[in-house]
Amino acid sequence: MVTRVKQRMVATRLLQALPILVLATFIVFSLMQLIPGDVAVTLAGENASVERIAQIREAYGLNQPFLAQYGQWLWNAAHGDLGVSLLSGEPVGDTIARTFPNTLMVALYAVILSVLIGVPLGIISATRSGSPLDSGIMGAASLGVAVPNFWFGMILVLYLGLTLKWFPATGFVSPFEDFSQAIWFATLPALALCTNGIAEVARQLRSSLVEIQSSQHVRTLHAKGLSPARILWLHGLKNVSVNLLTVVGLLFSKILAATVVVEAVFAIPGIGSSIVNAVLQGDFPVVQGAVLAMVITVIVVNLATDLLCTVLDPRINEL
């Protein structure tokens, strides 16, 4: 009965996602029109005649009105055809399949690091709130929120990569080839991506734990004679888990977006660098396909976190 209600909610949410997908790709498509440069000129090569360029425009449908071009792309995409790259001729689906797993791995790695480091810091801060240790952690966290991750990434490359030589400074190994090597190479990029995440997780966890610990129901738990450890680890953490999960869900979206810059710093063949290259060259099918893949991922992750929240907090039964 409950699962049936949930199934319907998931279906509704997925239907609601459709307009978001259309809107996101439409906005990206429109922005592409504003970028200076003409892909037809690039394709035609140097010293091409005006007729040749016009021919290429004709062949790729670039001379059609903007809305017609978008409509054509949307129609094909709805039928599973994302087109081919204007420059390399590689099907966009293949480009995504080749690059997106790399990006996902780095992003996921960064999210896991954020949780693994941020959660203990948040708990330490909350249980010693007001102490110098708490002030230190929270001060560092404020800094972590403020520091741009591409800058921190470059510092990491310099120090951990080039000076200490703990991790490879650049380069990438696909997780499908050699998983442990892939993790090894992805560590610096993940560290660069997770600074904001650690800070955010620690700050949010601390504030919700402090709030919970001064709540009336925690006073009841003390009145029942439970141990402080049980109150913190069982009741405290279950009560803040919904908050934490929401933060982590948002964090994933943020980190996914940040990979665009960090992949460039570390030369990772991910979807972020594909987008950057495609944008620079006006290769709109690649941009559209990559954006679509990212938006779908974000929507699915949000839906999954919301579903998990309904499991953790019985009071939430609406998605």
Binding site: H217, A223, K224, G225, S227, P314, R315
Partner: protein
Amino acid sequence: MAQHNGGQPAPLLAVENLNISFTHPGGETAITRDVSFTVAPGERVGVVGESGCGKSVTGLALMGLLPKRTARVRGQIRFQDRDLASLPAREMRRLRGREISMIFQEPMSALDPVFTVGEQLTETLRAHEKISRKEARQRAIAALEEVGIPSPHTRIDEYPYQFSGGMRQRVMIAMALICRPKLVIADEPTTALDVTVQAQITDLLCEISETTGTALLFITHDLGVVAETCSRLLTMYAGQVVESAPVDDVLRRPRHPYSSGLLRSLPGLSERGSRLPSIPGRVPAPDRMPAGCRFQARCPHAIDGCEQPQPLLEIHGARLARCWRTDQLQLPGAVNE
């Protein structure tokens, strides 16, 4: 010392000169001053006073639940043979929920929202007794049944939000009583409830205390509730106990002007259509307490001499009043003879 049940068995709880204060960056603010009282085994004692008089803080101090960082508790809280005021935290924890438990004012927020009622009941049991999960569940179902929750077998797996306010307070009562404590402190347990439910909860507390022999310290500002449930009444004013007496006696003839004022301002006692009597003025701020009687500024009977420190005077053995004029005054109560 406030020993006023001479000849009776040793008290279960004897509070002596309890001084509670809160420290803050500007110094220290005293909340209670030399609070002393006793509770006999199985006795039901009502504590009344207006908000801010220190009655809830006293209740929390007995439980050792005041914030450790800011609260200073001085004096003795003798419970059976131990002094709770100086008991190590670990031992205090063993007493809480097993020997002394507490029912709070807000049933809406006093239960953990993300655990089922059954989980919250059984964890109390399992914190204090070595019993199996299955046995704990049986006891929890029995406890829910005892407090009058219909179909406890299914409701035990529900979450607090699925219960109404009155039902949640019943769950709180079941939780407080599940280990059969010797003393239950009920801090305004009916204030947050619907009027129609208040009487049910009061009756339930009274009934359970009677059948299990649990002593009850009933903190409330509702004198009517005390009159129905308790055998003895403590009146607190501005952090002090100003009167302690058997309920019937105090209803007939209060011995402190403040108790009298509280009783006279009960609706239903004054004539229909007439203005409800009230006590003029307000409680002095904690940092501006007069040296003498703390009620003198609001007292209709204040004369020269009230500015002297007022000890708790013993009246005919069983009563105490903090008023040097108590024998001269013929104060009106709630019941006219």
